[in-house]
């Protein structure tokens, strides 16, 4: 099953600086305004289709991330945002790293950058729509 339109977005900071978080929120401001794609920011993962994850996923947070992933209803997609989420970035090999994200939960789209610009985050989210893969 794939997500066709109007995905609702939830968001989790699994141990990053605030940079990526802010750029994710910036997508919802009047300049970038992803609401025009029918997207909406949902606080609870239970209401969302796409989960944006930022940060290195530290030991303390790993269980919470798994929990949140399980709460996402099917069909679900995960977007890893920022260098930290993709490889660990600056904190690669840190004692508190349990990630990167794809070691903990399956990731569909990677958006690179430290932090990525809102344009590329929007592009990443759009890539989740109507994708052919099934899980």
């Amino acid at each position: 099953m794939s997500i066709k339109k109007s995905p609702w977005i939830s968001f989790f900071n699994a141990g990053g600086c605030n940079g990526c978080t802010l750029e994710c929120f910036a997508c919802f401001n009047p300049r970038y305004d992803v609401t025009r794609f029918g997207m909406e920011l949902k606080a609870s993962a239970k209401h969302a289709d796409i989960l944006l994850v930022t940060g290195i996923v530290n030991n303390h947070n790993k269980k919470r991330l798994l929990n949140i992933y399980e709460q996402l209803p099917e069909p679900k997609r995960v977007v890893a945002i920022g260098a930290c989420a993709i490889t660990g970035g600056l904190y690669k090999g840190s004692y508190s790293q349990a990630g990167p994200v794809d070691k903990v939960i399956p990731v569909d789209v990677y958006v690179a950058g430290c932090p990525p610009r809102p344009e590329s985050i929007i592009d990443g989210i759009r890539k989740c729509l109507n994708d052919k893969r099934s899980r």
Partner: protein, 386 residues
């Protein structure tokens, strides 16, 4: 009466960053508050060990996505005197412009999130629209929206030219009337005044005892601002002396108005610095520098308060790095100020201290192999304030 436990977080609608609050409630009144940290701990200090100084500069900037320039300046405050490098005034002024713009962006961001917390979505949109203009300036001046990293040890990556400064002034002229209007809304909106006034009280004595910093302390009448009390870099120049905004309310309302007013003080500093800067001067080329001495420390006033860096150096590499960010000093007061408040006021009180959880994750209380919550009983040792 039945006491119930009401957990909030780590992932929760009213929190943009993970923190865990455990509230003991009686009806809807909070009798005791505990909190737990560590959800975004990444080990910045340990990772930076062994880095060359230039690399470490990038590492400390990534401590925080909101005040990255203030972290970089605190680090440079510590390291530059050790290398003995002569820094030209233009570089100092450029750093001041970036840091003050960062303060504006941080307070606008906070205003938006605060409006979001109390359900005023339109106000949130207005705040974040103005913030985009400030980010545009960063984009133009440094090439990055969030982690600007314009600094090198002893110099800067590029020098601001005439068009850059022109653009800064034009953008400020563009946003100033809008921000004035937003301040008006904050000041006169019935919902805001009724939910902010007299909630989350921090008396002056408590602020002093806990060593609170930044706007949180200044809202309780503590006259402390690193830019004024220990001027660093360009803040030492006579025309750029800071006049901190002080208020005496000590509640959520006071903290809100302080942040609204600080934006204008920052704008004055940026305008003045743009005037003083010589657009034709080039910044010096980067030199290879050797740091002498064992350790040093640096302080800056970040948007949320005092930022402290301790740097120990061995063979031009970091031996030990210690960061202390303002939020850690402020967040301690949560355990006390929530007591006796209604549970519906929690989001407002949490946001009124403007916490930046991601950059403060340094400490965990571990006892018998288990992580413990922070409680008001432990933190205050039974002290009373009224």
């Amino acid at each position: 009466m039945h006491e119930k436990i009401f957990p909030i977080g780590p992932q929760h609608p009213s929190l943009k960053e993970p923190i865990f609050l455990k509230l003991h409630v009686d009806g809807s009144y909070i009798t005791k508050a505990e909190f737990n940290l560590g959800y975004t701990h990444r080990g910045v200090e340990k990772c930076a060990e062994g880095y060359l100084l230039d690399t470490a500069l990038h590492a400390v900037q990534r401590t925080c996505g909101i005040c990255s320039q203030c972290h970089s300046m605190a680090f440079l405050n510590a390291v530059e005197p050790m290398t003995g490098v002569q820094v030209p005034e233009k570089v100092y002024l450029q750093r001041l412009i970036t840091a003050e713009l960062e303060r504006i962006h941080s307070h606008l961001l906070w205003g938006g999130v605060m409006a979001h917390e109390i359900g005023l979505e339109t106000l949130f949109m207005y705040y974040w629209r103005e913030r985009e203009h400030i980010l545009d300036i960063f984009d133009e001046l440094t090439g990055n929206r969030v982690h600007h990293s314009p600094d090198l040890i002893g110099t800067a990556k590029r020098s601001f030219n005439k068009e850059n400064l022109q653009m800064v002034l034009e953008k400020l002229d563009l946003v100033e009337p809008e921000i004035k209007e937003l301040r008006n809304v904050m000041e006169n909106h019935d919902v805001i005044t009724s939910r902010f006034k007299k909630h989350g009280n921090i008396p002056k004595k408590m602020a002093e005892d806990l060593d609170l910093v930044g706007p949180t302390a200044r809202a309780s009448g503590v006259n402390y601002d690193v830019r004024q009390n220990a001027p660093y870099m360009a803040y030492g120049i006579k025309e750029l002396k800071v006049k901190p905004v002080i208020r005496s309310e000590g509640d959520s309302w006071g903290r809100t108005m302080i942040r609204c007013d600080e934006i204008f003080e920052s704008m004055r500093l940026v305008r003045k610095a743009c005037e003083m800067i010589d657009p034709n001067e080039e910044v010096p080329k980067k030199k290879n520098l050797i740091a002498k001495g064992d350790f040093s420390r640096g302080r800056t006033e970040a948007p949320r308060g005092e930022n402290f860096h301790f740097v120990a150096i061995e063979n031009n590499r970091i031996k030990r790095l210690k960061l202390r960010t303002p939020t850690l000093a402020n967040v301690i007061s949560y355990a006390r100020i929530m007591e006796g408040e209604d549970i519906t006021d929690v989001p407002v009180i949490v946001m009124s201290l403007d916490p930046c959880i991601s950059c403060m994750e340094r400490v965990a209380v571990i006892r018998n192999g288990k992580q413990e919550n922070w409680t008001s009983h432990e933190l205050f040792e039974g002290k009373k304030y009224d």
